[in-house]
Amino acid sequence: MSSILIIEQILNGLQFGVMLFLMAAGLTLIFGVMGLINLAHGSLYMVGAFAAAAVAGATGSFLLALVAALAAAALAGAIVEMAVIRRLYNAPHLDQVLATFALILIFSEGTRWVFGSFPLFLDIPDALSGPVTLPGGIEYPLYRLTLIGIGLAVAVGLWALIERTRLGIQIRAGENDREMIAALGVDISKLYTLVFALGAALAGLAGALVGAIQSVQVGMGEPVLILAFVVIVIGGIGSVRGAFVGALLVGLTDTLGGVFLPELFKLFMETGAAQKSGSALASMGIYVLMGLVLIWRPTGLFGARA
């Protein structure tokens, strides 16, 4: 196995990780600030992808499509927060899970109703298509490099927002003591809607960016949602920094495990069997990682409270 292949796989893992981060960041913010388990986060990812596909189909512009994805997901998030989620903040987690699960079904069937049952087309913009040659002779798709760049930029932006702005102060305060910041005169319901819409917009952005290299179809958000939950559990629930580290860990573990475990098994097994058992074990890799992290740190890597 050549070093070029290894570096390419590390890049793949990074790209997967930063996209997971976009999903996980919103999820962890919403949980951290509002204490809400939002299963419908994957639906917002789907909303972003469908909005992007529809706008790209109508206008041909990928940039407009991204803007539409952000706007549609943020709007859907804000509406859902005001119409449904707001009634659940003081409800037990089981009620939240039930209600947000219902939202998944409503979003899925609603999307099918509007767009039909067949997958939509969303393609990479021409300017970003095709591979580029990196130093060292590595050929790598330009679009995936762009995704890594966008993901890192969003991470920096989110860090600046939370650490450097007034809104960020309110979000951090909200994580620590909800009653107290309400008592201090912050309009808590507006803050909640804002945070929810922000999380939704990040999910929508991820959906649109990833939709261009995958299939835009009903139900596309749920597999990503499960991984995003793994990420925030590893990173520590409520911690954006934890979500970032967790997302990269999960991305790299999943990608590298899927490639190298079967190779490892081939050293002492027949090829077909090594492939089957190696890839089966690799698909467990991130859950094993989660288990190990939780044994070592029961609240996750950056979990604040015990």
């Binding site: 196995m1 050549s2 070029i4 292949l5 390419e8 796989q9 793949n12 790209q15 997967f16 899925s108 069937e109 099918r112 049952s117 067949f118 997958p119 939509l120 087309f121 393609d123 990479i124 298509s129 095709g130 591979p131 050929e139 798709p141 679009y143 995936r144 990833v210 261009a212 290299i213 995958q214 299939s215 835009v216 179809q217 009903v218 139900g219 596309m220 597999p223 990608t255 899927g258 490639v259 079967p262 090829t271 077909g272 492939q275 089957k276 890839s279 089966a280 698909s283």
Partner: protein, 376 residues
């Protein structure tokens, strides 16, 4: 989750209140990720029923949501309270395995418009089970045969790690005579293939075979096209059906895939089917729609000769398969699976629409590898 009860659709004339004499139960996937396939099968089936002009056939349609447990519940309901004579509709092999053996043992006839798992073709075959589509391995075997003819000698092959994926690679390897540059099992439902594509790039393969049905295939093809790798790709029709080609776009152009049906198969039945399907539903039919259409026509041909209440005569009428198939010649092998020609198709663009064109025959009058194990 609430039971899905609202989908009972009835052929047009039954709605007027005429008493139905034959009751057909259709369990298929109408919601969730795989809904496109079930909708095509349903639409093809109902088109044939409507064209027959018969008002004594009632079709009860239910959505299995691609979940085996729901399919089993629906099947129990159809057999015990609806008392259907014939069942059909299931898309996925794991659902078929959960429903079909129990149904045929309760003296219901089952006509499969899609799933063809190997156990039901071999030792688990049954006199009341007929498959109108194909045995699962067939299209992959044809892809292997095509690859030989195209002169490929070193294939990189990949499929999801689940029973139909294993069958797919087994089927390809059964006919492919060259070497394997790599053999990879991906996760079922995987959406990112960057890691596999990097392995293809690093291998010395001269061709790629993949079985990634539905959305998985869309993702793979788009990412493969963007990777700059220019090795030829072959696959079964499942990643190139009419429903998903538009979502793949240019990335699929020129790819060769194997299918038992295409819209340009030259016979009057097929031409009429393609035209009437487009007129009725406003889209081109897929191979799934053709399978639904053929299934209904097989049923209609048998009903002309015998009533399902006379099980032996009805079974003989089904076995004779005297109907005009969209595929041209159609007959059943000893295990009630089709003996048919499988074609190689190429993805082309007709105006703005991506579709397939037949470029040759991959396997002529092909049966399946399990027929010998069937003791009926």
């Amino acid at each position: 989750m609430k039971k899905f009860l609202a989908a009972a659709a009835v052929s047009a004339l039954c709605a007027t209140g005429a008493l139905a004499e034959v009751k057909v139960g259709m369990i298929t996937t109408l919601s969730g990720g795989g809904a496109g396939l079930g909708i095509d099968v349903r639409d093809g089936f109902m088109l044939a029923i409507a064209q027959s002009g018969r008002d004594d056939i009632e079709v009860v349609i239910e959505d299995d949501q691609r979940k085996p447990d729901i399919a089993v519940q629906l099947s129990d309901k159809m057999i015990q309270s609806e008392r259907v004579d014939v069942m059909t509709g299931i898309i996925w092999s794991n659902l078929a395995m959960a429903v079909v053996p129990a149904a045929v043992n309760q003296n219901v006839f089952y006509l499969s418009p899609n799933a063809g798992p190997s156990p039901l073709a071999g030792q688990g075959c049954h006199q009341n089970y007929f498959n109108v589509a194909w045995q699962n391995d067939n299209l992959h075997e044809a892809a292997g045969a095509y690859a030989n003819g195209a002169g490929y000698s070193n294939s990189f092959i990949l499929a999801p790690n689940y029973p139909a994926g294993v069958d797919a690679l087994t089927g390809y390897k059964r006919f492919f005579e060259g070497n394997l540059a790599g053999e990879v099992y991906t996760e079922l439902g995987q959406t990112d293939y960057a890691a596999e594509i990097a392995q293809i790039r690093a291998s010395d393969a001269d061709s790629v075979f993949f079985f990634l049905p539905g959305g998985m295939g869309i993702s793979f093809l788009k990412q493969y096209a963007d990777s700059g790798i220019e090795l030829p790709v072959v696959g079964p029709a499942f990643s190139f059906d009419q429903g998903i080609l538009q979502a793949v776009g240019d990335a699929a152009l020129g790819v060769v895939n194997t299918s038992q049906w295409n819209k340009d198969i030259d016979n009057p039945t097929n031409a009429a089917f393609v035209e009437s399907f487009q007129a009725e539903y406003g889209r081109l039919p897929s191979l799934y729609a053709s399978q639904g259409f053929d299934t209904a026509n097989l049923l209609l041909s048998a009903l002309e000769k015998a009533d399902p209440s006379d099980a032996d005569a009805f079974r003989e009428a089904l076995r004779a398969a005297e109907f005009d198939s969209t595929r041209g010649d159609f007959s059943f092998g000893p295990n009630h699976h089709p003996i048919q020609t499988i074609y190689a198709r190429e993805v082309i663009k007709e105006g703005d629409v991506f579709t397939n064109k037949i470029i040759g025959v991959a396997l002529e009058n092909h049966s399946d590898a399990y027929a010998a194990e069937c003791k009926m």
